[in-house]
Symmetry: C2
Subunit: 380 residues, 2 copies
Amino acid sequence: MERTDSQPSPFARRGQARRKAVPGDARRHNRALVLRTLFRSGPLSRADLARETHLTRVTTSDLAAELLADGLIEELGTRTDQGVGKPATLLGIVRRSRVTITLDLSDDEVFRAALVDLSGAILDRRSSKREGRTGKEAVDLATELAVALSESTDDVLLGVGVGSPGVVDPDGVVLEAPNLAWDGVDLAGHLASVLNIPAHVANDANAAALGELGLGGPTERSLFLIKVGQGVGAGLILDGHLVMGDRFAAGEIGHVVVEPRGEHCACGRRGCLETVIAAPLLRRRLSEADDEAKVRQAAGRRLGVALAPIVSTLNLREIVLSGPLDLLDETFRDGALDAVRERTMPTVGDNVEVRPTSLGEDDVHLGAARLVLDRELGVS
Amino acid sequence: MERTDSQPSPFARRGQARRKAVPGDARRHNRALVLRTLFRSGPLSRADLARETHLTRVTTSDLAAELLADGLIEELGTRTDQGVGKPATLLGIVRRSRVTITLDLSDDEVFRAALVDLSGAILDRRSSKREGRTGKEAVDLATELAVALSESTDDVLLGVGVGSPGVVDPDGVVLEAPNLAWDGVDLAGHLASVLNIPAHVANDANAAALGELGLGGPTERSLFLIKVGQGVGAGLILDGHLVMGDRFAAGEIGHVVVEPRGEHCACGRRGCLETVIAAPLLRRRLSEADDEAKVRQAAGRRLGVALAPIVSTLNLREIVLSGPLDLLDETFRDGALDAVRERTMPTVGDNVEVRPTSLGEDDVHLGAARLVLDRELGVS
DNA sequence: AAATCTTAGTTTGGAAGATAGACGAACAAA
DNA sequence: TTTGTTCGTCTATCTTCCAAACTAAGATTT
């Protein structure tokens, strides 16, 4: 099986401060720029690329030759619908020139793995019941899934990307994930050494946010994704950068108190956001209620109350809800949006949009794939 | 009077997306890196710089020669306390080789101007009573102050930096500042053309946050500053980047509702944060109260309630309060901190720190100076 | 006192990368 | 057939950083 080597990618910034710049950095930057442009703007000629990137035709030609040699792009023949002049040779991404293994560990019951190509198409899937496994056994289960996928394909593997619950540092070490009893587990290091390909790990909600931003989509965007499942987590992207926070715990909003006299929570407090909108609890409350819509709306409003200060502070526009769509339906979302609007300035609140994830269940897989794409090819 | 030219600085990113890289970009990056290192780590030899920046001695020597020619740094003689080997020639920043004019327009009554050197020392000050001026008259007042300072000095001007109330876009256009009746005023363009030096404008709270981060201080830090005055604004810096928001209105938290049945606000809502902690209102309430401490604490707690979701989402550590210290005293701050801790996860809340600004009244001036330093010299 | 060692800073000769300008190729229009 | 346009490449040049060698200036050892 062909493999890319597993030395750290030049694009993997891994949280270090600003460093020196050498000419080669410019080269890598421009190579990534050309690749990114091809990702976004479909098939283009070398001259198109030069116009788009503001590099010269000579330089894009040279970079294109490099990318062609690596098999990342291919010539698609000449453009037909053209006016005067020599017809352009179109270049396009070879979607299957690299594939990524992704792991979605966010579900309490099942670990899921997928094989994703450069365009974000899912080529294969695997899954295993977790059956309560924790610690090393859970690591092994995840590893087995990844190995099984890697052995099932002859495609060139770009790397493995993981969306894991809990707090994950930029090097892919899971600092704490209570439900898996992980505490300082170097998941990225383990996967990289077993599979012998680059590995990148992020928090599941963060990964979902990356996925929602769109594979190869525009860089400069901001988005706040709230992932509702057993618990509640969030991923925040500002101007294309994932916000990690002081202890890499950004997005951990499940235990923000939204109802000081509310239900008791496993964490010891009362009225945590999780006690109001986590899937099992909300589902139970719905089954017990007379007026379902009222319960949905009230739960949404509670979320909105917590979101209002965040939306104002960050001047956010896009809020995405990920999780069971029967729970996070329009009534719920409208409740959240209403509460946000009532509690923020019009100039801020009027722009806000609360919408369900556009990728459904695959948001974590696609986000994990994007993570690998970003760090290995600089396509972000 | 000597002047630096007023063409846009190569460091002024002005919000545009990622662009191509040319060898010259590496040069500028490394030049800024050397300058920044000298800023932070005091006098160093060329060889020290090479070790610190991971460039070679050849390159740091070359860059140092350039900086010497520009007068930005100087040789300070040889190091004495050294062991074996040829004694090192120490290089240091010439603090007064460039000076910045700064304008603090955050006070409702008075426009203030200052002359700041590269180390953040304030060399001169001017101020003018605003006397209710708005629109063009307010622009003229600010301009006059800046012109007066520029004419009073023979130092080389690096640029002019402004902390303005309201929403300011990255090009320095004040999109809306109700109290000055500014609505799409190109303040940066105006000042740059009148003074013939580069001009940069930011929201006052954003500027204060930049100032608090420290001139020439470490890059990779995060900080949330809340500026209390006539109104309430905030500035947020994450990993060294100022958060601007979708419509450049990030930090506008004055009209977040924190008390749904609270006092009526000028904006039409009830219980906006401003009705609770803006200086004039809080002062009035204190004068009417029997138990001052209780009022302070309650006001602080209200702020804390709004902060809790923000702190959790961003995993923030440092919260800085800027404004009249008699109002934002320890009791107030403790109220805020208590409310944050009660409403966030321990791993997040235990790290949080709520402290007063360390720069006092000059935080906007120093932040505006830092803004210019960042954008003109890349020293951030 | 001479030789040796160590560290600072400079000179020299690449190597890598982007570019401007020139040029052949391929096609449309006149 | 000629002219004009656009594509893509070739070449010479410029910029930047770097490795290696070299000079400078002191401490340490012999």
